[in-house]
Assembly symmetry: C2
Homo-oligomer: 350 residues x 2
């Protein structure tokens, strides 16, 4: 007998990027940070004793939320909710603000998880294509929906829509706008002040990228307290364990360490982009920690991906519309970027 809900029958779930066991692989496929996190993070974890494990964690993660509020320029913890990774917060946004059957708006392309989350929730995702420069179109501004997921900088292109365009959109949109700023620490500017200006905006951040903490699963959402209160109603009582709360606090306390790492990635990003351009790739300017490298010709982008994998260099290939001729390449260390360029030169010169 089939006990599952009918809406799950066609759902395949989200496919995370490969996580190879082989430590010799150069991993440029999941947008992890190539540099280690602040040493204070592990110190904070090591300082936890048996009692921290034995007891329930703070269900409201007050200290961490207060640190986030202070850092992001908000008056208090009631403007902030934290989650077990930003993915949990994205799912909660649907559960809080979208009824099954409602329409959700997103650009195309964008973070492919949104589509899975909408399927699981029974919501209808309406994609509106970005233009050829990965900018918003007038159709996007005109499309009504209960909620909009807007990734800035966009994934997988790395392009950031101008702040004023985002503001114009938030002002005119009648539903909730989730501004997914997963990669914004690598950008020139951000929209973290928007919740003070717009009652319908939720800004989300992850600690997986700029803070080098993908293993700790930490997400943050900032919005007006009325919206945050809905998240608090629906979240699992103890959704952040004692480790993640300690890690999040320690990382926030050492914010400059994150900024220094981000500067290194931004520097490598420009170098790598120039080398890819020189090899003949078409690469939009990225405000993120990855590059979307378009390639037309033989071998195909898919074959490039496969031949790189054979040389133990993983990048991300999406067999999806507008992306089938591209590779998404995480900006690694200088050595990792050089190894990639050398491998590409070898493949392309054969």
């Amino acid at each position: 007998m089939n006990y599952a809900r009918a809406l799950l029958r066609e759902v395949e779930g989200y496919t995370p990027g490969e996580q190879p066991k082989d430590p010799g692989v150069i991993k440029l496929n999941t947008n992890e940070n190539p540099y280690p996190p602040s040493p204070r993070v592990l110190e904070a974890v090591h300082a936890l004793g048996p009692d921290a494990l034995r007891k329930y964690p703070d269900p409201l993660a007050v200290r961490f939320r207060e640190l986030c509020a202070a850092r992001y320029g908000y008056p208090g913890a009631d403007w902030v909710v934290v989650g077990n990774g930003m993915d949990e917060l994205l799912a909660m946004a649907l559960r809080g603000f979208v009824d099954p059957g409602d329409t959700v708006l997103a650009t195309y392309p964008t973070y492919s998880l949104y589509e899975v989350l909408c399927q699981l929730h029974g919501a209808s995702l309406k994609y509106v294509d970005l233009d050829n420069h990965f900018q918003l179109t007038e159709e996007f501004f005109r499309t009504p929906a209960r909620l909009c997921f807007l990734t800035r900088p966009n994934a997988p292109s790395g392009v950031a829509v101008p702040r004023e365009e985002v503001a114009r959109f938030c002002e005119g949109f009648k539903g909730i706008v989730v501004l997914d700023e997963a990669y914004t620490d690598f950008a020139d500017d951000n929209c973290m002040d928007f919740p003070t200006r717009f009652e319908n905006v939720i800004v989300m951040r992850t600690f997986s990228k700029s803070f080098s903490l993908a293993g700790a699963r930490i997400g943050v959402a900032v919005a007006q307290p009325e919206l945050i209160n809905e998240f608090l109603k629906i979240k699992d009582s103890y959704n952040m364990d004692v480790f993640s709360q300690a890690v999040g606090c320690a990382a926030m306390d050492d914010y400059d360490d994150m900024l220094a790492r981000v500067a290194k990635v931004r520097y490598s990003r420009e170098g790598l982009r120039n080398k890819l351009l020189a090899l003949g790739f078409d690469v939009p300017e990225s405000q993120s920690n990855f590059l979307l490298a378009h390639w037309k010709g033989v071998p195909t982008a898919r074959e490039l991906y496969q031949q790189l994998a054979a040389r133990r260099i993983l990048v991300r290939y999406f067999s999806a519309r507008r992306l089938e001729n591209a590779l998404r390449i995480t900006v690694g260390t200088g050595d990792e970027c050089s190894a990639l360029v050398t491998a590409l030169k070898g493949i392309l010169s054969r």
Copy 2:
């Protein structure tokens, strides 16, 4: 403007038990284990280096699921799914097997989170009262529903319905049966073998109680692979962080340590129950790590709760039908139990 879903307007969310900052409080209110976890658990956490934090955790938590399968007598990881606490798995069961508008069955009383989860999901919870001995009634057997939450041992009574009764129910019920075995390690027997016998049964466990790991948020569900596959579709991609996976594996590797702690709690439980009976409380035999102590008279149970709190001893009081004359008391260390009994004697003799 109100952006929230209409179904959330009357939801207050779940109220976790108090977590006082004062370290001098005797905390018998949230069913934590009074003894520390296996030392191997913290060793496993301390062994994690910067790379474990920098990279994404195993999205499928394969090693931990394999250890659970082996321990619980199942052929492989495909019979197991793990979560960020058992609460996450309970919510996922609704998302996987219940459509909004469907009926969910539970006994009354039971774990009060089920009601909140049903509200959030838009499902209709049908309570059927347990009898005066906290046993299932024929009405419960006759009530159809898409899914049933059955807590064994029951919370907050601590009473375990006989295994054969549970089997008879699972056999006749047409929907999914979630057997919530959060407290089963403290019981004489369990139903962990039921998924081999019944295609509609999901057994759930938490590491918060017997394993002394409430801070680490670890839940486990066991069922036939077809059901587990639905959980894998709907779970957050990386729902268990790198710490919890390491902690869960280490705890499973030191299973005997957990059993030794459980034996101590069971011993204290019998001693505390006898003392409460001698003081005039009515206390059903508990198969759990807490006792439901009924009290009729003056002061009322609520007043007892308040007067204990004034003496810095926290127990749990529920202002709910059938529970308004009772205290739920977590079995603490021998010293904590003695302090409670002394305080109760003092209050009752005034």
